[in-house]
């Protein structure tokens, strides 16, 4: 009884933080699912903006039921996401990343200038609060379950093949394009969900919400947490929401400490912080023998590397 009471008081004290984390988790999932499938797309942030306007305006202006508005927003973004993936089908790596950044920023410019719809620089305010933390929590659970399934089994293996060697995947008669489109669409839908929930929980949308800062934040969450698995994205979302709030107590240099932490983790922990958890878990179970996979990778890639002093 005591513990239940303390948990509920802890929850009450941190509800807003938890809401932020859950919403950012969805956004981080959106970026992670793309990255894991070998698609360096940051379009999730643009769909965050579109999803927030779509859901927010449908609820506020059209008085749609919340569930319907969220579903409509997500479907709209799924469609747009598919269209974008077709448009950008030939792009890879950093080119794709920059193209999707351009898309995100374009969404912001359009939102700012389409005043009749979005309120332009005034933003869309006064959206009724229409979702609960529980709803978002359940959505995050569902999304995590879906991503976990996508990491295993045939789909998971196929996506890894598509990511690691497209030619090979093609030769195994994998429809690479279909899988890339699938990942792109799922990424768009997750981004839209995050945006829709943000609008319906925090009641206002500004055209500048989904700007370069949010792109950087989402990317950082995924890389710092570890993009190899959804757990990494979740860990990144938790830490990068929570740490800055705590760090502000340091005073005016907190940002520099934050930046230094980013450099250290990015440079020295290649798999992201989640890999520390994995390693700790493995260590506690005793030293595992090197897996076949590892041996295979050692053989495939002899440690050819620069000879830098």
């Amino acid at each position: 009884m005591q513990t239940i009471a303390s948990i509920s008081s802890w929850y009450a004290n941190n509800e807003t933080l938890i809401q932020e984390i859950l919403i950012y988790a969805l956004l981080a999932f959106s970026i992670q699912v793309a990255l894991r499938s070998g698609i360096f797309s940051l379009a999730g942030v643009g769909f965050y903006a579109i999803g927030s306007y779509a859901a927010g305006l449908l609820v506020k202006e059209q008085a749609w039921p919340t569930a319907l508005a969220v579903i409509a927003a997500v479907l709209l973004c799924a469609l747009l996401g598919w269209a974008l993936s077709v448009l950008l089908v030939r792009l890879r790596d950093l080119y794709l990343a920059l193209a999707t950044v351009a898309f995100d920023l374009m969404v912001g410019v359009v939102a700012l200038n389409w005043s009749s719809l979005t309120g332009g620089p005034l933003g869309t305010v006064g959206i009724p609060i229409s979702v609960t933390t529980l709803t978002i929590f359940i959505t995050v659970l569902g999304a995590a379950a879906m991503l976990a399934l996508m990491q295993r089994g045939t789909i998971g293996r196929t996506l890894v093949a598509v990511r690691e060697d497209e030619q090979l995947a093609r030769s195994l008669s994998v429809n690479v394009r279909r899988y890339r489109e699938l990942a792109f669409v799922i990424s768009s839908m997750l981004g839209a969900l995050a945006g829709a929930y943000h609008a319906l929980l925090f009641t206002d949308i500004q055209a500048t919400d989904a700007g370069f800062e949010l792109i950087v934040l989402a990317l950082t969450m995924v890389v710092i947490g570890g993009f190899g698995s959804w757990t990494g994205a979740l860990l990144g979302a938790i830490l990068l929401t929570w740490i800055p709030i705590e760090l502000t107590s340091i005073g005016q240099w907190w940002d520099a400490v934050y930046g230094a932490m980013m450099i250290v983790v990015a440079t020295f922990i290649p798999g992201g912080l989640i890999s520390l958890v994995t390693i700790a878990g493995r260590a506690s179970r005793g030293r595992a023998r090197p897996s076949l996979l590892r041996r295979g990778s050692a053989a495939a890639a002899p440690p050819a590397s620069s000879s830098g002093a």
Partner: protein, 297 residues
């Protein structure tokens, strides 16, 4: 490629090399046969080991390249040949132990650009020409450490004389050359550094038989310029045509060694690497002509 299978062929247990049994490679000694000059051998490798994590690719290999000689290192795919060369040239990222001496001077453990500066160049497996750069730029890059413009020009002239095709195609991007031409470029590029020792990693790999002959001629010509050559090859027939002495590497260890003459008549070598006996099919699988064809395309 690499292998952690314990227990090499020669010697008992895990330390076959160090104990009482004298190293096979030292019995006749290549120095005895080659054109040994006064002083230290061009290259002396002593108990070289290369480990990638838990996997040992090369275990206590010792060998010697007399000055002015061509010595071949033979072995199947995965025997540890490339790891040996990479470790000697300072380009592998792995745990390396042992002693490497260039004309008596310790060079083991130095980064590759320092080793080049000491006069030893590796011609890497697969040629690794810098494809977007022109043929001439590739050659000039070989002379990166040479700052005197005049000497670079003179060297360029020498290389052009040796490989006229490089003069003809000097402006064309290196990536557009044929496999054989790229191998000539890789040789020429190595010569530009004016090395005393050249390490060659599978120069015949992926080339048509006629081209292999030209590569072997080139190796001979390079040797004639006074360069000592350590030639690593899967194609034992070709290698033994130019080498005076040969080592056989198996699973990271020296399996046997001897003069080219001896090695050609060695039944084990003949069976495994030269494919002279009935098990020709197995030998060809290891030697990999099929792979050569595939790689050429």
């Amino acid at each position: 490629m690499s292998s952690d299978r314990a227990g090499g062929q020669p010697g008992p247990g895990g330390q076959p090399w160090r104990g009482g049994q004298p190293g096979l490679g030292e019995q006749p000694g290549p120095g005895g046969q080659g054109a040994s000059r006064e002083g230290a051998p061009a290259l002396k490798i002593d108990r070289l080991s290369v480990r990638y994590g838990h996997i040992t690719a090369v275990a206590s290999v010792s060998l010697e390249l007399p000055a002015g000689a061509i010595v071949a290192v033979l072995g199947a795919n995965g025997a540890g040949k490339s790891s040996t060369l990479g470790a000697v040239a300072g380009s592998v990222k792995a745990h390396v132990s042992g002693d490497v001496r260039l004309f008596g001077e310790r060079v083991g453990g130095r980064p590759s650009h320092r080793i080049v500066a000491r006069g030893m160049v590796l011609v890497p497996e697969g040629r690794r020409v810098i494809a977007p750069l022109s043929v001439e730029e590739n050659l000039l890059l070989g002379a990166y450490r040479q700052r005197s413009h005049k000497q670079v020009r003179a060297k360029l002239g020498e290389v052009h004389e040796l490989f006229p095709v490089l003069r003809e195609r000097r402006g064309s991007p290196a990536g557009l050359l044929s496999g054989g031409e790229q191998q000539m470029l890789a040789f020429g590029r190595a010569l530009m550094a004016d090395p005393r020792v050249i390490l060659m990693d599978e120069p015949s790999m992926g080339l048509a038989p006629a081209m292999v002959d030209r590569v072997i001629d080139a190796v001979r010509a390079i040797n004639a310029l006074g360069k000592s050559v350590l030639l690593v090859e899967q194609n034992a027939v070709a290698a033994l045509r130019v080498a005076s002495y040969a080592y056989v590497l198996d699973r990271g260890r020296i399996a046997s060694s001897g003069s080219a003459q001896t090695m050609r008549s060695d039944p084990v070598v003949a069976e495994v690497f030269l494919g002279l006996h009935e098990s020709a099919s197995r030998a060809s699988a290891e030697q990999g002509p099929g792979r050569s064809e595939a790689a050429r395309s």
